[in-house]
């Protein structure tokens, strides 16, 4: 694998454009746009303050740079470098900023989640959405970009509002049966909205597009509940990862659990293959046999290889402090492969930031704090 030279960036703001042609990085208050193939700098923009957040528009023509401290959002155009746009939230402050799916509206969430301001770049019009909920994932756009679901909280009750992204018309507004809504996610086909409660209660609710409650699922009571939720790409499965270190999968016809996967600390399954990274340090004599966690040395000095461990394999588990909130146990991230055949899960306190599947569905990329791991799977083609 070839690596390019190291480019500077700040705040982990480094994104490839949706059409895959450009790479944008932020260095302090500068925005650098490069060509992906040649890595030559195409454009260089300067913002007014240190950039907190940067995002591409869906048509790869505009980039927004948000500076939360100043309450400013600046939008840059690739086609016309002279074009500029500045949105000032004023005294109300800025907590988050994002694009709308059509790439012409910017949604700013003000401080204390007082309201969501929708700025239109076409008409300079402003819309306000009151009482958005401050939660793990309060806004979600459907995959086709038609609808937006927003979690709201009024009078100690949770509501979900469905907006039409065309003109921000409020399509539906309904109350949810949650105690404290933690997140919502559209299914890939845009017809079902999954809504889950905070970790104090295990509850996953499924609403159809027009606001009817399709089903409610709760695996157990009292213990800490749902940690992460993800849909399969074909909208047939909903995977729920919880604090009890199990993944439960619901099917889209009956919305009942079809299977559950466990993450035991000792793997005895004969079908499972466990790869252990064995690092050979040039400096230190002893081997550090840890799966993902490493003590940092120079990146290029260590050479590592993966060995297959004989079963049973004991996974090193670090017991988290039970007195602390948001303990580092449970299934924190899930990712389905693109053909919905495989599910990658991360359980426990391992330092894996993200799991990403390749579009072809046969390779998985694990991004750790200091490491990158690519897993290729040798999948046999089966007859459909």
């Amino acid at each position: 694998m070839n690596f390019s030279e190291v480019f500077k960036q700040s705040n982990q703001l480094c994104k490839v454009s949706p059409d895959g042609k450009y790479l944008a990085t932020c260095v302090q208050y500068r925005l650098v746009v490069r060509d992906v193939s040649t890595l030559q700098i195409l454009q260089l923009y300067t913002c007014l303050d240190q950039i907190s957040h940067m995002d591409w528009s869906s048509d790869s023509l505009f980039i927004l740079c948000a500076m939360y401290k100043r309450g400013l959002v600046q939008v840059w155009s690739l086609e016309q470098p002279d074009w500029h746009c500045k949105i000032d939230e004023g005294s109300i402050g800025l907590v988050s900023s994002r694009w709308s799916p059509d790439g012409r509206h910017i949604l700013n969430t003000t401080e204390f989640h007082l309201r969501v301001t929708v700025w239109s770049l076409c008409t300079k019009a402003v819309s306000y959405i009151k009482y958005p909920k401050a939660c793990q994932k309060g806004i979600d756009f459907s995959r086709d970009g038609c609808y937006m679901a927003l979690a709201e909280r009024r009078d100690c009750k949770d509501y979900v509002s469905v907006f039409v992204c065309d003109d921000w018309h409020l399509l539906r507004h309904f109350e949810t049966e949650t105690q404290d809504l933690a997140g919502l996610e559209w299914s890939p086909n845009g017809c079902v909205l999954a809504v889950w409660d905070s970790c104090l209660e295990y509850k996953v609710l499924l609403y159809s597009l027009d606001g009817r409650l399709l089903s409610a699922y709760s695996a157990y009571e009292w213990s800490l509940g749902v940690k992460s939720v993800t849909w399969s790409p074909n909208s047939q499965f909903l995977a729920i990862g919880s604090y009890d270190e199990k993944v439960r999968i619901l099917n889209h016809i009956t919305w009942k659990k079809i299977t559950q996967f466990e993450h035991p600390s000792s793997i005895n399954n004969t079908k499972a293959v466990v790869y252990k990274e064995v690092e050979k340090r040039t400096a230190v004599g002893s081997d550090d046999l840890s799966l993902h966690i490493t003590i940092g040395t120079a990146l290029y000095n260590t050479r590592s290889k993966y060995e297959i461990c004989p079963s049973p394999v004991q996974i090193p588990v670090v017991k988290p402090d039970p007195d602390r909130a948001n303990p580092k146990i449970g299934v924190s991230s899930l990712a389905f492969s693109s053909d919905s055949r495989y599910l990658a899960t991360k359980n426990g306190g391992f330092q894996v930031q993200s799991l990403n599947w390749h579009r072809s569905g046969d390779s998985l990329m694990l991004l750790g704090k200091e490491q990158l791991c690519l897993c290729y799977m040798d999948t046999d083609q089966e007859d459909k």
Partner: protein, 585 residues
């Protein structure tokens, strides 16, 4: 009863002594003994007067009584020495008195003993009673003990179960406490977060209230950019709202439509599969039906029903298309039925197979699995090279057929395998032809030679005949009768001469034969003698073909005949020589 037994014991003790001393009068003793044993009262009851002493046995009785008394330790009653037959009355009385005293003493001891016996028996009774009582008490106490043990055990069990319960409860309590703790920490965390936010709000509010200079929010765009899809934005009206609603429902409906279609397809597939399964099951079951027809009458009946049902079903299938609930139920029921039958059948087969296998393990007829497999492997190995061979053959054939080439190469190729052989044959043919020609030539030569020979012979014969004629005409006045011996000797001489000069002569003879007119003078004397014996000479047949006929004139003289004979012999030899030379050539 104990008393009677005791008395019997006593009599048993006494009676042997009595019986010993009164052996002669046992019968008289027994009644008192019996009486004695039967009665439980003392001895001074009335006895039946014993007939111990009679008038006849007084002396014996006396002596006997003396003995008895002396044995008891008393002075004798009667002494022999006194001589008088009269007893000493005093002694008798004393004896009787002593006996009575003894008797009284005996009675007293008997009484004492009886009393003691009574006492002891009552003691025994008492002891027995107490012992039974104690035994009963012991039994009771044992039972009580076991009962107590049982209770103790049960209590132990209960204690254990309660301890388990307690442990479970403790665990659960612990778990709940953990849950509570985690929830509490989560709540605290949330509370703290909210509090922080609250304080921030308060600060901001303060700030805002204090700081009047509010910054307004504004957007500053260089120029408006067009919409992403290029269309003009619409005003928000009811129509648009309705349109949005409509679109939303359309999406939902299309999603449901696709799902329903998928499910229909899946359903159809599954139904097809079920039908297929059912058909196969029916076929399997119908196969076995003729075999088992005798044993399974009820089954046959049911199967007939099912077949009817299936026929009905097939016809209905066409019409209804399996879409009604009724049809579906029928299908599932029939499949369940068939499956149950198949399962029972398979179970039966299994049991049979296991039984058969158990029996077959001992028989030698059955081919064991290993040998069977070995055979299979061997056959496979054998087959493999044959297959490869066939394949190569096919490939070559294919190659041959498919390879494009021109005429001569095709012809060459078509005959290429025989080329070498053909060349060889051609050469052989050539050599054979040569030989044949040679033979032809030789044959021709031979025939020519033969013809020539015959011609020459004929000519020679003619010449000879002419010469002989001449000779005869010349030599006839002398040579007839005189010299037969001379002729013979001459002939002998001639013969020897001819023999010696045979080798040199042929050329000359040939020469003279070629000269048809007259033979040389040297030849003449040789040949003239042989003419006479011409007809007598042996026809020497040198070869099959060369038969020399000697045509004779009977009138020839003897010398001439001898000469002729010599000449003939010579001719024959000459022929031989010619032939030999010819053949040598």
């Amino acid at each position: 009863m104990s008393k009677t037994s005791y008395c019997a014991y006593l009599t048993g003790f006494i009676s042997p002594e009595v019986k010993d001393t009164c052996s002669s009068s046992v019968e008289c003793r027994s009644p008192p003994l019996i009486q004695f044993s039967q009665s439980s009262v003392p001895l001074h009851r009335n006895y039946i007067l014993s007939t111990f002493c009679t008038e006849h046995n007084v002396q014996e009785c006396l002596s006997h009584i003396n003995q008895e008394v002396s044995s008891l330790g008393l002075p004798p009653v009667w002494t022999e020495s006194s001589g008088s037959s009269e007893m000493n009355v005093m002694a008798v009385l004393n004896c009787m008195y002593d006996l009575i005293q003894l008797h009284h003493r005996g009675l007293r001891t008997l009484e004492n003993m009886e009393v003691e016996q009574l006492k002891s028996s009552s003691n025994v009774d008492h002891l027995q009673r107490t012992s039974t009582q104690l035994k009963e008490q012991l039994e009771l106490s044992k039972r009580g003990n076991t009962g107590l043990l049982e209770r103790e055990r049960q209590l132990h069990l209960k204690v254990k179960s309660l301890q388990n319960c307690l442990k479970n409860e403790k665990d659960e309590v612990q778990k709940l406490q953990n849950i509570i703790a985690s929830r509490a920490s989560q709540y605290n965390h949330e509370m703290k977060r909210k509090e922080r936010e609250f304080t921030k709000l308060k600060e901001r509010l303060n700030q805002l209230l204090v700081d009047k200079k509010e910054k307004k929010q504004a957007i500053d765009v260089l120029n408006n950019i067009g919409r992403a899809d290029g269309k003009r934005s619409l005003w928000k009206t009811q129509k648009t709202e309705a349109k949005h609603e409509g679109e939303m429902y359309k999406t939902l409906l299309s999603d449901y439509d696709t799902r329903q279609r998928e499910m229909l397809l899946e359903n159809a597939e599954l139904k097809k599969v079920l039908q297929q399964i059912k058909k196969e099951m029916v076929s399997i079951l119908s196969l076995r039906k003729p075999i088992r027809k005798d044993d399974k009458h009820p089954d046959a009946g049911i199967q007939a029903d099912s077949e009817d049902e299936e026929q009905v079903f097939d016809s209905s299938k066409e019409s209804v298309g399996l879409f009604s609930v009724h049809a579906r139920e029928k299908l599932t029921n029939s499949i369940r039925l068939q499956w149950r039958r198949l399962k029972s059948h398979v179970e039966r087969l299994d049991s049979q197979a296991s039984l058969a296998q158990m029996g077959e393990n001992k028989t030698d007829d059955a081919i064991s699995r290993e040998t069977h497999e070995e055979e299979m492997d061997r056959l496979k190995l054998e087959i493999q090279p044959c297959k490869d061979f066939i394949q190569t053959q096919q490939q070559l054939l294919q190659q041959q057929l498919s390879s494009p080439c021109d005429e001569e190469t095709t012809s060459l190729l078509s005959n290429c395998y025989m080329l070498q052989e053909r060349e060889r044959f051609r050469e052989e043919w050539k050599t054979l032809e040569k030989q044949r020609n040679l033979f032809e030539r030789e044959r021709r030569n031979c025939t020519e030679a033969a013809i020539r020979l015959s011609h020459e012979r004929k000519a020679f014969e003619d010449d000879r005949a002419v010469w002989l004629k001449h000779q005869f005409l010349n030599l006839s006045p002398f040579a007839d009768l005189r010299k037969p011996q001379m002729s013979k000797s001459k002939s002998c001489f001639l013969i020897s001469e001819t023999e010696s000069s045979a080798s040199s002569a042929p050329e000359k003879l040939i020469k003279c034969r070629s000269d048809t007119t007259s033979p040389t003078p040297r030849c003449v004397p040789l040949t003239s003698a042989s003419t006479a014996d011409m007809h007598r000479t042996v026809c020497l047949v040198p070869e099959k073909r060369y038969v020399v006929f000697i045509c004779t004139n009977h009138d020839m003289p003897v010398t001439n005949a001898a000469l002729v004979v010599c000449y003939e012999l010579f001719m024959l030899i000459f022929y031989f020589q010619i032939n030999q030379t010819k053949w040598k050539d």
